[in-house]
């Protein structure tokens, strides 16, 4: 699955009866990163979830395009994107190795070994997830993105728990992903460690 372009047109999302944003338009081409900024509660997470198809927008469309034209949204979501949310989906009672193996298999990848190497997870593999620090858990969640390459990364505050060295490392990973024709849409408060277009969302935007 190759996604060459993501186009968001006239999107409006409401949560709990309150409209978070409307008329939101954005296009991301292969090799581009977009840093989505906005106040708390402006709808950054909701936008990412709407792109991932987990949340139905009130109006507007999200379109995925491959090199040869439009791609079915369902296919693009099932095989073309990674969503890294606040919650990492890791089970506290399972070991890091089991969780990495499962999520790699679930996303159809085979690069778990490479992910362990790149993200320096070796010493953590036999620990239960509950013994990991927040930063270590985030690295374990990130390993999925490395283990099964997919073009579109939807990242929600990806840097928050990472230390300075790991932020740099993640910056290199993102740069490599973009260089390989990937797309990144990240909700952030801190600047991304790669060149990214800033897009605001919400009332002040």
């Amino acid at each position: 699955m190759v996604i060459a372009r993501l186009a968001i047109e006239g999107l409006a999302v409401a949560r709990g009866g309150r409209r978070l944003f409307e008329g939101f338009c954005l296009a991301i081409e292969a090799g581009q990163a977009v840093a989505l900024t906005g106040a708390n509660g402006a709808g950054k997470t909701s936008l990412l979830r709407a792109v991932a198809g987990l949340l139905r927008p009130e109006v507007g469309t999200v379109r995925f395009e491959g090199p040869a034209g439009p791609v079915e949204a369902e296919d693009a979501r099932a095989a073309g994107l990674h969503l890294l949310g606040h919650q990492d989906g890791l089970k506290a009672t399972r070991t890091a190795r089991e969780e990495l193996a499962f999520w790699t298999a679930w996303t159809g990848g085979d690069g778990a070994g490479r992910a362990v190497e790149v993200l320096e997870l070796g010493p953590l593999l036999d620990l239960d997830v509950r013994r990991l620090s927040a930063g270590q858990r985030r690295r374990l969640a990130l390993a999925r993105l490395v283990a099964s390459p997919r073009p579109l990364w939807l990242l929600d505050e990806p840097l928050a728990p990472l230390d300075a060295a790991r932020r740099t490392l993640f910056g290199e990973l993102m740069a490599a992903h973009l260089a390989g024709g990937g797309l990144i849409l990240a909700a952030v408060h801190d600047p991304l460690p790669v060149a990214a277009r800033q897009v605001g969302i919400g009332a002040e935007a």
Partner: protein, 221 residues
């Protein structure tokens, strides 16, 4: 397909992992069955007459125990989002989860059911049918229970809600299963009840994944 297999293995390991979920259900089942003669009459004639029915009712209640956690853990830690985004449809995810629930809770309870029934005074010749009907009913309990778990997802005090939603739906398998056992005990044809039980459970397994997926989508959306 390999992704669903990986999911199935994960569900099994989560169920058998720390916490010993199935063992609790079994202990609860034995405890419930022990209460019955204490609450009614320990006289063997009185007890043996109701033994199959009591064993079946206790089975239904014990099947409720771990239902709450079927989707809730994955919902709480965000794994359900990723499962919904995966290569398999949400319907298939729900079906796999219920199958794993059946294998880890329904099957151990089914092994225990003949023992409980005989301990309550049922005739040993009922053991084979007790096991078979409990195993079949377990499919119904898992899939219908999964429906309740999906509907209660995200609600406060979801566990109680699951029980309230699901218990009325547990009525038909209890009637059919206990009815088949009663029929066999009194020398009548038991196949009618067993076939109805199988029909109910297969129907539940075929239909409930669609409802479950809708419930889950509603909860995460």
């Amino acid at each position: 397909m390999s992704a669903l297999l990986a999911l199935f293995r994960r569900e099994l390991s989560l169920a058998w992992g720390r916490g010993g979920g199935p063992l609790f259900a079994c202990a609860f089942y034995v405890g419930l069955a022990t209460l019955m003669p204490l609450a009614t009459s320990p006289a063997p004639q009185a007890l043996s007459a109701v033994a199959p029915g009591v064993a079946f009712a206790a089975l239904a209640l014990s099947s409720l125990l771990s239902l709450e956690r079927l989707f809730e853990r994955d919902f709480d830690d965000g794994a359900l989002d990723l499962l919904a985004l995966g290569p398999a449809s949400l319907e298939a995810v729900c079906a796999v989860k219920c199958l794993a629930q059946w294998l880890t809770t329904g099957a151990p309870l089914a092994v225990l059911a003949p023992v409980v029934a005989v301990a309550l005074g049922a005739e040993p010749r009922l053991m084979a049918l007790t096991f078979a009907s409990a195993l079949a009913a377990g499919v119904g309990f898992s899939f219908v229970g999964g429906l309740g778990a999906a509907l209660a997802l995200g609600a406060r005090r979801g566990g109680v809600l699951v029980a309230v939603i699901v218990l009325p739906l547990f009525v038909p398998p209890v009637i059919f299963g206990a009815g088949a056992l009663d029929a066999l005990a009194s020398g009548l044809d038991w196949r009618g009840g067993m076939l109805l039980l199988l029909a109910y459970c297969l129907g539940a397994a075929a239909l409930s994944p669609f409802a479950m997926a809708a419930g889950v989508r509603n909860a995460i959306g």
